[in-house]
Symmetry: C2
């Protein structure tokens, strides 16, 4: 991986097929986004879903108009080719995984770019905190909770959370740091007893990998960008496209630009 | 009690002896301060102690010069008469409790005004959080911890903390709110398992009163203004004066003016 590559140079490599797969650790310091692409007649409900559930679905930018593959606020982007891997959904089910969606593009498609935890993990690491999934070199553990999202039309479902363990003083510091970044999930939604949000076994995440939790540590839970995918599966639109997990849109925005303070 | 009284009017009543005792709930919206008065040759070490331990000892203001009973940044104050009750310490022991210290005043005395949790409790309540000691009408429970303060000359000791129980989501919100108020103890120093900071029994506080903690709540711990009194008892200066617990200096500063954001 190449943390020094500029976001534009990395996107060129993605666009040309030279870079495939995970974007974690690439273009260090720049915002990476979760992507959801929907037909225009589904877009308004999804937009409302994001607005009603800003912690799991923090909207960073959208395309300008149906059919337009550009997202100017995020850089010189062609959303049809600038994500390393895409998932195509039909009726809420993944039917294909593709490195390019140019041949599937339609003039009614609207793109949503949502914040991702890579940005706040960078801020936590920069402050000297240990982020367990980073130090153990695994995907962050994610869990389905019993917390209901606020429904918008057909989009609904339970919130998915990611978990990172911290000593209490570091958990307090993590709340402070992440509060500065509302557009990348913001402050945690829960800490301590997992059962209170419907999680029964931390050792068995629903997505990602389990991490070590020391006896003197608290599990700290953040709203997670998998939540919109769960809502998408529930809504069952006839056609939708997302990024593949870990294969994000790398943007020209700096993480520090997302800080509200 | 009279929350509507202006701070200046309340201080007049204190000065004249018309108001005695607790100041909690009076002059709502205004900053109340812990007071420590020391001979000038002890003042520098105490100032350093405050600077090294800003969470338990958040310095809001000091007097201008030894012997000067005014504290201009806090209002038209005569520190010899404007606190409802004083404790006089000799060699680290309380020897008297007095409503006025004019007859004890010396031309070498320096006054320190430290932030107090009343200010952040008001901010928590204003946000709709329940502050248990307020709703149960008791003094906040306070505990000695095993957390060492950073020593400055003879001033040293363990940190004392106050505790308020919250649901996890409210605890996270409380961290955000209190972070805005570093000069009144700021963010909590610990939450969750009390044993990790040397507290063995929440039902038996070292100072104040126990409060109810529901099963789904976390105890949240803030650095407490009793800490400097403990350091004072350890340092054993020949002469010192503080406010009596709960009988604070009411200032003209608004709580909102202490917010850094």
């Amino acid at each position: 991986m190449d943390g020094q590559l500029s976001p534009g140079a990395l996107r060129q490599r993605v666009r040309s097929g030279e870079h495939r797969g995970n974007t974690s650790g690439f273009a260090a310091g720049y915002v990476q986004c979760n992507i959801v692409i929907l037909p225009a007649d589904w877009a308004n409900d999804f937009l409302r879903f994001c607005q009603l559930n800003p912690k799991p679905c923090p909207l960073v930018a959208t395309s300008n108009a149906p059919g337009d593959p550009a997202i100017p606020p995020l850089g010189d982007i062609d959303i049809r080719s600038d994500v390393p891997s895409y998932r195509v959904f039909r009726e809420g089910e993944v039917t294909e995984e593709l490195p390019d969606i140019t041949r599937l593009w339609r003039d009614d498609l609207v793109t949503f770019a949502l914040g991702c935890s890579f940005s706040f993990e960078e801020a936590l690491l920069a402050d000297g905190l240990e982020v367990r999934n980073v130090s153990e070199g695994v995907n962050v553990p994610m869990y389905r909770t019993d917390i209901d999202c606020t429904a918008a039309g057909p989009f609904a479902g339970k919130m998915v959370v990611s978990m990172r363990p911290f000593l209490a003083a570091d958990a307090i510091r993590a709340v402070q740091i992440c509060t500065r970044f509302p557009s990348v999930h913001g402050a945690p939604v829960h800490l301590g007893e997992p059962g209170l949000i419907g999680i029964n076994n931390l050792a068995r995440p629903d997505y990602g990998d389990a991490v070590t939790i020391a006896e003197d540590e608290l599990p700290v839970f953040w709203a997670c960008g998998v939540t919109p995918q769960v809502a998408l599966e529930a809504a069952r639109p006839p056609f939708a496209i997302t990024h593949s997990p870990g294969c994000m849109l790398v943007t020209d925005l700096r993480n520090s630009q997302l800080a509200v303070l």
